[in-house]
Amino acid sequence: MENKGKKILINNIVPIVILIMIVMAIPISGLSRGYLVQEMVSRLSRNSFLVLSLIIPVVAGMGLNFGIVLGAMAGQLGLIFITDWRIAGMEGIGLAILISLPIAILLGILGGYILNKAKGREMITSIIMGFFINGVYQLVVLYGMGNIIPMTNKKIILSRGYGIRNAIDLKNIRQVLDKSIVLKVGQFTVPFLTILIVGALCLFIVWFRKTKLGQDMRAIGQDMEIAKSAGIAVERTRILSIVISTVLASIGQIIFLQNIGTMNTYNSHEQIGMFSIAAILIGGATATKASIPNALGGIILFHLMFVISPRAGKELVGSAQIGEFFRVFISYGVIALALVLHQWRREQENKSERKKIMDMQLSGGEK
């Protein structure tokens, strides 16, 4: 029993450490409990869709997919078009998703193909791919829109006549999803429709794991060679997992930006990639195992820390800026720590696995 307990402790070391830090920091930061809960509800509804989209590639053995940035870009392109055409309300969100769908699928296929060529190095390749496609995105948005791609709405075009402005006000779809059905639970306002959509995604993930495609992905995630020898189309299935994750990320980004109301065209997609992966890692996920509790728990922990640390920094050391940098440090430090622990633990497991076989053979051979 003790070994089992120890095992659970080691597996979830990261969430526990963060939890302890948060519990200590709450009193220092002086933020009221009510404020924190309300903040968590809105942040949970805003980020869940994006973080959940990370689960499928992990199941398929592609590791934590920094290609989520690709999906976010596709979502933003959709939003740019509907703002330009001035489509408002739910129709605007629907159309944005519809426009971003083909783009996300295309980027997903491209991403999956590249990752297939860099087997064993998926995670670092997906980071670099995120930067590369960001360059292409800037080429299209900063230089393409306005001259090559006709844009009518002058408010989002730069003064020089082409290229999209850095910050766009999405007033025609701001909070449309969240405000549509609002539940009053005690003194907290809960954006019920968004929570419903997130719930639907959770059901989809659970259902998807049970389909033949989901099973193939789980098999490939565990051992690609055996899956291939059993006749599973490994390359195609890996690309499919990336396409699904990219499409979900584009929808997630649209939900995220409609909640915030403004979009900074050139870095909100990079930021979101970083925060989502930090969140799921804080939730206890690893490069080979990720579940829905990891995602949702991770969001709460990450954003609690995100909100508290600047205030705690201010109270403790008298400068919010330190709190600000502390927050950046925590999100990167946590990713580094989680990755190191995961790699290290995998080595320990392999070693003990080998030792177990060896002892068994030594004793087995005795008879």
Binding site: I82, W85, A88, M90, E91, G92, L95, L98, I99
Partner: protein, 118 residues
């Protein structure tokens, strides 16, 4: 196999049609409302566009409104030449690429709605 191809093409077509529909019903149109009558212009008039809150418009003034979708109703309230409070409800349609100006003062005459090329 042919069946799946047809189904898939059908779904793609449906998505495109859905997109067009969303575009039309979601498009925000610019509607100008002015209070300039030929003979008589009420000192101030009030209008409610698509059930939004009531807006006051002084004489000779012009206001810009954004309205989503195709069918709209406008309810105008003003005092006529003899000082009697009048309330009139009109319906109108917005069309793609057309600019609409509604003249509250001339609401009763048939010149209340002007549609020009944008």
């Amino acid at each position: 196999m042919m069946k799946t191809i047809f189904i898939r093409i059908g779904v793609i077509l449906a998505m495109i049609i859905l997109g067009v529909f969303l575009f039309i019903s979601g498009k925000e149109h610019v509607i100008f409302i002015e209070n300039k009558g030929e003979k008589y212009t009420p000192k101030n008039a009030y209008y409610i566009l698509d059930g939004e809150k009531e807006v006051k418009i002084k004489a000779k003034k012009k206001k810009r409104e954004y309205a989503k979708g195709v069918n709209h109703t406008i309810e105008i309230r003003f005092k006529d030449t003899s000082g009697v409070e009048k309330k009139i409800v009109k319906e109108f349609k917005t069309k793609m690429g057309k600019r609409i100006t509604i003249n509250t003062a001339m609401i009763e005459s048939d010149l209340w709605l002007k549609i020009e090329e944008e």
